[in-house]
Symmetry: C2
Subunit: 325 residues, 2 copies
């Protein structure tokens, strides 16, 4: 890899991307906080925090089992607000189109966006459309930014303690497997897990300390992110990690680490040991695969307990799976 | 033009783009207002309005006399907040890169963004980076969204009256001519006018009723936008429109309508007849070419008064100049 030029792996949500982002060194955040989290936050008085986030989507293919680029774009940004503990207020929509893009496909994507907006009551309030010459962009790129409000003290950004439990809201990897089925042309019954997480997170918000959605880089990236941020370790019980049999088989077949597969409608959260079962049971009402998967430890590493012994689950590196979200 | 597929002209800021955007028909904006303006607004209590906007930038070339895509992206979004009468609070930065993009060029762009952020005190608070395979996107696409706060009653969205004056903050078309000089390889001393307008607008905010920056589609698009929104006409005095001689010559040489050339550091504002000279003189402190250029009328059209008589200045149509902002 030539270090003078941007590589695909720098867009894949792993260590290389984190290094690239940190090299940007934006000086001065003013009174904003959580700038390296899913959303940045600003105290705007009156016991309120403004919460602000952005995400660009370059998915290939743009239509896949159970969803499309519009669906994932809107859910992704709503979820980045929701995992912070915020109530989303409104979204922006920036669309870059390739000249010659089918208006029927555009309409389908817009309808997807409209449906989620209507179902969640979170409106698209501002937008921008650009068109690039044929061959200058691959079909469509979508940016969705979002603003929300959180109560002061209500952020899911509380200190963690050794012994806290780690809970996942459902089976992993379905988004990646559904999307890759179109790219690699295999048959599967798996559809994307893409969905807005507002209701699920609201149902346990008062019981949990932190939350994060495992998108690019999968749970491997997310667990390492939380671990690094809090300077604590995690011990994950491999057998408890929920994943559909077909997801396991296809990920093995493709040679892709199951734990690095992106989800678009799951979140990992941390609660005290005492609250963990209540969190698990509450989340099971939305998805029967919700599960306690591990414990916060004091050793600064994410360790996975397997039938063959314990091993470290590292932060993903290299080209995980490009253009999956 | 085949109506089933997206055309370049639908990304050029003219009538076709307005029609495309309106065809999206997003249902339900909740309590948000001004959704078709430069920024959307939401009453968040405590006599405050949240102001939110987004813009994607697909400029070609990415470096040009006096600026680069980073400079224009950040200024563009800051200005979309400022023309609404808002105080910008923070910006998001979504970057989509082509695999193999030069890190030296990326650093230059990031430095440009950092400089404006530092100069204006408006921080970049949240971001996202994606990489597309070589050939799947032309170098770099940037989305900048922005949030700001305005006082209730402080929006530059007041009703206009017949007889109000129209003022422009400086000479037109410099951004377009500077950028096109690289694309068409001609020599010019013109550099982009790209700059943040926060200070200039603040200096006259209490004196004006409405403001808008003439980016894509130039003053032809902006004057028609204001006219349509308020259901009023405008009479513009051609001789009073400020433009550098070289801008006039090059636009004639290229066969591009001077009034459709994009600016990135100018705004048009409307004040009462009584305040107009004070607005003009205040703005002259920032740019000696600031000028009263016309009057609000009752005839629903933008009319330009030339040496050869009066003619309508229509909303731009067709392919104005692609990928200029």
């Amino acid at each position: 890899m030539n270090k003078d030029f941007v590589s695909l792996s720098e867009g894949s949500g792993g260590k290389e991307m984190n290094d690239l982002i940190k090299s940007f060194t934006f000086r001065g955040r003013g009174r904003w906080k959580n700038c390296y989290d899913d959303s940045a936050t600003l105290d705007i008085g009156d016991s309120k925090l403004l919460v602000f986030t952005t995400d660009s989507f370059v998915i290939n293919p743009i239509f896949f089992p159970g969803g499309d680029i519009g669906h994932v774009s809107v859910c992704g940004t709503i979820n980045d607000l929701a995992v912070m503990g915020a109530t989303p207020l409104g979204l922006s929509l920036g669309i870059v189109l390739e000249e010659g893009f089918s208006k029927r496909d555009l309409k389908k994507i817009i309808n997807s966006i409209n449906k989620i907006s209507k179902d969640t009551g979170i409106p698209i309030v501002t937008g921008d459309t650009k068109v690039m010459e044929k061959g200058k962009v691959d079909k469509i790129v979508i940016n969705v930014s979002g603003v929300g409000i959180a109560k002061k003290g209500g952020l899911l950004d509380k200190p963690l303690e050794i012994g806290d439990r780690i809970i996942i809201s459902g089976g992993i990897g379905e988004h990646a497997i559904a999307l890759l089925s179109k790219r690699f042309d295999y048959k599967t019954s798996i559809i994307t897990d893409s969905k807005p997480l507002v209701e699920e997170i609201s149902s346990v918000r008062h019981l949990i300390k932190a939350a994060k959605d495992p998108t690019r880089g999968g749970i491997a990236a997310t667990l390492n992110d939380i671990s690094q941020k809090h300077n604590l370790g995690m011990l994950i019980d491999e057998e408890s990690i929920p994943a559909k049999k077909e997801v396991r088989i296809v990920s093995e077949m493709l040679g892709i680490n199951l734990y690095e597969l992106a989800c678009e409608g799951r979140f990992i959260c941390i609660s005290s040991k005492d609250n963990a079962c209540l969190v698990e049971n509450t989340l099971k009402k939305f998805n029967s695969d919700a599960k306690i998967i591990g414990t916060v430890t004091d050793d600064n590493k994410v360790v996975i307990d397997t039938q063959l012994g314990r091993r470290i689950l590292p932060e993903p590196r290299g080209l995980i799976v490009p253009r999956i979200c």
